[in-house]
């Protein structure tokens, strides 16, 4: 299907869709749901990604996944059936490594064991900064204390947080995310962390640069994590559709209000970046 089809007035699609050249897709909650083992692909998403790739739109994926290296994460998605390669995927750790190199920093790591291999080539001796990721069980008092001591001992303490989420949903309930521990260390050391990953503008900018596109040429489709993890809605009530499936339904006149639940996005950030956003209200 061609982009030209979506500019039809009766679909209600924003006119700015004419200038779209790329799409950035969020992953967890959009392409798949995490859970037992690899998790499960959200119905329609595999096909949607394939169709996006067949089109002339540039496609990238961004995620705040920090419990596994990019390589293993992409392998999981491939196992689920997605046609996706590492160079198209933007998790925080590789971005963090680039920052370390740029600023000649050596990190003390408080991250999930599964992420450690990503930092294999990085000099970790005599650390002059701290990086925290979604370390889950590793967020023990002792480990946090170690990270704290590194920071408090530095003349110019630098703390990088891979994402800043409050919590996420797992099969056995809600769990605290990296943002909580970022706030804890910020408070303890009286400093401000630098967030690498969503929703940092620099992070999105690096994705745009890789696509060689300007923000007004890109459509961002992501979930607003606060909403999709809210206590009052279980994932059974939320259906995440890819943009492509949505375009198709609009075009075919199949889209009804009861189909749509999924377009959450960070309005203020998107507006700041000048990204085209798809608002739920557009489809009332």
């Amino acid at each position: 299907m061609r982009r030209g089809h979506f500019v039809m007035a009766d679909t209600g699609w924003p006119g700015c869709a004419k200038s779209l050249k790329g799409v950035i897709l969020d992953m967890c909650g959009v392409l798949y749901d995490s859970g037992e083992g690899d998790g499960v692909a959200i119905p329609g998403s595999i096909e949607a990604v394939r169709k996006l790739k067949e089109s002339d739109l540039q496609l990238r994926f961004c995620t705040n996944e920090t419990q596994a290296t990019r390589e293993r994460f992409v392998a999981k998605l491939q196992r689920l059936g997605f046609d996706i390669s590492a160079s198209e995927v933007f998790p925080p750790a590789p971005a963090a490594i680039a920052v370390l190199k740029e600023r000649s920093l050596r990190p003390h790591l408080l991250v999930h064991d599964g992420l450690l291999p990503e930092f294999d080539g990085v000099d970790k001796t005599n650390p002059n900064c701290v990086i925290i990721g979604d370390a889950a069980e590793h967020f023990s008092y002792q480990n946090l204390n170690e990270a704290f001591r590194v920071l408090i001992g530095l003349e110019k303490p630098v703390l990088f947080s891979l994402g800043q989420g409050k919590y996420y949903k797992e099969t056995d309930g809600l769990k605290l995310d990296v943002g909580v521990y970022m706030k804890a260390l910020e408070y303890a050391c009286d400093l401000k962390a630098e967030v690498i990953g969503k929703p940092s503008p620099t992070f999105f900018q690096s994705v745009l640069s890789d696509m060689g596109l300007q923000s007004h040429e890109v459509c961002q489709h992501r979930t607003h994590s606060k909403t999709c993890c809210s206590l009052n809605s279980s994932d059974n009530n939320v259906v995440f559709m890819s943009e492509w499936a949505l375009f198709r339904k609009c075009h075919n006149g199949e889209l009804t209000r009861s189909d749509l639940v999924a377009f959450y996005h960070d309005l203020s950030l998107s507006t700041r970046l000048g990204l085209v956003t798809i608002s739920y209200s557009d489809y009332k």
């Binding site: 008092y141 408090i152 809600l174």
Partner: protein, 259 residues
């Protein structure tokens, strides 16, 4: 000192001011005796939450400090008052050694979360439990929000960072009962029968001891022992009434200038 009445009471911090773990600050015992000879009431106020009043008393007496249990006022005491007042049933994230100060409080089917200094409880699993309770409406009570404290092996995270993290996760504000809350100081002075303008606080934490006391209307003296770090006196406004090396110097200043 225009506008201030004569000094009637001295509030003294414990950990970091009179002692660090099991070592007394040099000269502190004698300084305390000298202070007792002046006609001022004394109260020992502390955010220490690992130990019950009885434990604190025993440790201080072992270090040859002359004081009585009724002169000790802790943030645990303040927390207990709040729980009784509101009839909460708490999930107590406090060290086992502090539990005796909560004896008699019903902890079955907890509907409130109380966080003290409890390294053993600040693991991922327990914090998740507390988080879920708060998300479901349980009030979060912080015995205090100290950023860190001094241990034998260096600085260590206090409960403050964990309380802050939970506040962020749940979009809730904790009720803090310990220093530097104004009510803590007012409660401490309450049974001494004097007002804040007749009292001075001595402590090693610029924000929690001195800042908090001055905010309540008292004078504050900052000592350079315990968790004090170079430049701490510049972190509060107004600055401490006095910054001096240690407790004995603070006592000298009081005896010579404030009585």
């Amino acid at each position: 000192m225009a506008g201030r009445r004569a000094l009637k009471a001295v509030l003294i911090d414990l950990s970091g001011t009179l002692h660090v773990e099991d070592t007394a600050v040099p000269g502190a015992q004698e300084a305390l005796s000298r202070l007792r000879q002046a006609s001022v009431a004394l109260k020992f106020v502390t955010n220490t939450t690992k130990e019950s009043k009885r434990n604190l008393l025993e440790r201080l007496q072992r270090l040859n400090f002359d004081l009585q249990e009724k002169e000790i006022f802790t943030s645990l005491s303040a927390a207990r008052s709040l729980l009784e007042q509101k009839q909460h049933r708490p999930l107590l994230l406090v060290e086992d050694s502090a539990l005796e100060d909560f004896s008699g409080i019903d902890t079955s089917e907890p509907n409130a979360v109380v966080i003290g200094l409890a390294p053993d409880h600040f693991n991922y699993q327990t914090l998740n439990t507390a988080f879920r309770m708060i998300l479901h409406g349980a009030p979060l009570i912080a015995i205090h929000k100290a950023r860190y404290y001094k241990r034998k092996d260096g600085l260590a995270l206090g409960p403050g960072p964990f309380v802050t993290g939970l506040e962020f996760a749940t979009d809730c504000k904790a009720t803090v009962v310990g220093k530097p809350e104004k009510t803590f100081f007012m409660q401490a002075l309450c049974d001494l029968g004097c007002s804040p303008s007749e009292a001075v606080m001595i402590g090693d934490d610029a924000r929690d001891d001195v800042g908090g006391a001055q905010n309540a209307g008292m004078l504050g003296i900052l000592v350079r022992t315990g968790k004090y770090r170079e430049g701490d006196e510049n972190k509060i406004s107004p600055p401490p009434h006095l910054t001096c090396d240690s407790f004995p110097d603070a006592v000298e200043h009081i005896l010579q200038n404030l009585l």
